[in-house]
């Protein structure tokens, strides 16, 4: 039954293959329909409302939990966050200081190299970073 060729000469599909094809076709249609549903304005409104409710419930839960912990004289999440933020700000400042120190060290290194070179009569070379950039005047749009 499975080997009986159709009009194109290809073997005719088995009932199982036919069922699978029909199922996949139905699934594709349902998927497209679902995508149309979620792209509607009404779904957007629904999503906004669900989000608002979820946010409100989260806020109520968090506040209640924080109140319980505070009354128990235990550090709540808010307290820990405040502390972590302070640590973050300290890290920011340390990072800035570190970058300044590294830049000063680089400057010091390059100036002492320059002094050494001028003492030995060597010419210093500029890195020419901006000059090395190649400018191509091509503006292409290659698509396959």
């Amino acid at each position: 039954m499975a080997d009986k060729p159709n009009q194109d000469g290809a073997p005719a599909p088995t009932p199982e293959q036919e069922v699978r094809r029909l199922y996949e076709e139905a699934e594709t249609r349902v998927a497209r329909a679902a995508e149309r549903v979620v792209s509607r304005d009404s779904f957007g409104e629904l999503l906004a409302m669900v989000t608002e409710n979820a946010v409100a419930l989260t806020r109520i839960g968090n506040e209640a939990m924080d109140l319980v912990l505070r009354n128990l004289r235990v550090a709540s999440r808010q307290d820990i966050n405040r502390l972590t933020r302070q640590l973050g700000r300290t890290e920011d400042k340390l990072e800035q200081v570190l970058q300044e120190v590294e830049e000063l060290r680089d400057e010091l290194g390059s100036s002492s190299n320059g002094t050494a070179r001028s003492r030995s009569g060597g010419a210093s070379r500029s890195s020419g970073a901006s000059d090395s950039r190649r400018r191509n005047t091509r503006r292409s749009s290659g698509s396959s």
Binding site: E35, N81, A129, R133
Partner: protein, 349 residues
């Protein structure tokens, strides 16, 4: 397959299916050896070890604030990082880490004006070069673009933007978030950092049947037919399920600036008081779009081609989705070589 074979095959396939789904968290991803170059708060800059360096200009990879950057290095044999290393590039990658509520004060300016410049600086110091190539994907692309627009003197020679949202009008996200009833300030204020699962849920709801049903049905079919590649499924499933929170301030600014007010394309975006002028983007620019991208649709990226001030702008458009374009099974043949070729021409000294 006879009826008897089918009878035997079904429970075996069910067991294999359950095993594949249940053990997906154990799949090894992001396994290419790397060194930590720099850390600051939750951000880490990695450098991948290469024994085959041919091009002096290093490549800095910048991923989105949602999901993890492991997608650049998904699994052995299917890793973009591994591919770049084989091609001879010195590869660095920014990992934004896993922010929590205490990081809710980090806005887009923090990433664009603090973290990206620091990552560039550390990349230059580690590589000993004076210019880099920056490759941004999705939100990472937009952040990279904003950075180049804001800092005309940035030492970025080549800017590669993959599936990057620029003009969001007409996208499904725009339809969902740009409406007044979606109070992004309220969401950001209450959550501090918006849970990654919520963002993942929203992403999946864009194609609900495909994401919540067809993926598993196809896996079942492949297992039943004896054609499954569990390692491929598990690596991708693990990456998809790993959703770090989105820092509250950054989320609020991203939704407001990019969706509610669409500021970037309207040239109204200001970061730390300075206007982002895309005409100042004079790097060699490669824009890659995906034909079936529903998160950052192609038409939302194309305006960029005419907005940047660069004289060298190239556009690749390929079939595929937002992630599948770069991480799908065909990426290694269809898009990676083109990117490497484009980069090679612009990475010589």
């Amino acid at each position: 397959m006879t009826a008897l074979e089918r009878l035997v095959r079904t429970p075996i396939a069910a067991l294999e299916f359950a095993n594949t789904v249940l053990t997906e968290r154990d799949a090894p991803i992001g396994t290419t050896p790397k060194d930590v170059i720099w850390t600051h708060r939750t951000t880490t800059l990695y450098r991948y070890r290469s024994a085959n360096r041919r091009y002096p200009v290093p490549v800095l990879l910048v991923f989105a604030l949602i999901n993890r950057p492991d997608i650049f290095d998904l699994r052995r044999g299917h890793s973009f990082v591994e591919f770049l290393l084989d091609e001879g590039y010195d590869v660095f990658m920014v990992d934004w880490g896993v922010p929590d509520e205490s990081d809710s004060d980090q806005g887009l300016d923090y990433y664009v004006c603090d973290e990206i410049p620091s990552a560039i600086r550390e990349t230059l110091r580690a590589s000993g070069q004076d210019e880099i190539s920056m490759l941004g994907w999705c939100i990472g692309g937009t952040l990279s673009l904003i950075h180049c627009g804001l800092f005309p003197d940035t030492p970025v020679r080549n800017l590669l933007l993959l599936t990057t949202p620029v003009d969001t009008s007409g996208s499904l996200y725009f339809n969902w978030t740009a409406r007044d009833s979606f109070d992004v300030d309220h969401v950001a204020e209450v959550y501090g950092s918006v849970p990654g699962r919520s963002i993942d849920w929203a992403n999946k709801m864009m194609k609900p049947v495909t994401n919540y049903w067809t993926t598993y049905r196809r896996l079942w079919q492949a297992i039943y037919d004896g054609e499954s590649r569990p390692e491929a499924y598990q690596a991708m499933a693990k990456w998809v399920a790993d959703n770090p929170p989105f820092p509250g301030k950054a989320y609020r600014e991203w939704i407001t600036y990019m969706y509610k007010e669409n500021r970037l394309v309207r040239e109204r975006l200001r970061i730390r008081g300075r206007r982002v002028d895309l005409r100042d983007v004079d790097q060699n620019v490669l824009v890659v779009t995906a034909g079936a991208d529903h998160i950052a649709p192609r038409q939302g990226t194309l305006p960029l081609l005419d907005m940047v001030g660069s004289e060298d702008v190239t556009h690749f458009d390929r079939p595929g989705g937002h992630i599948g374009l770069m991480a799908g099974s065909r990426a290694r043949k269809e898009i990676w070589p083109d990117i490497a070729e484009w980069l090679a021409e612009r990475s010589e000294r």
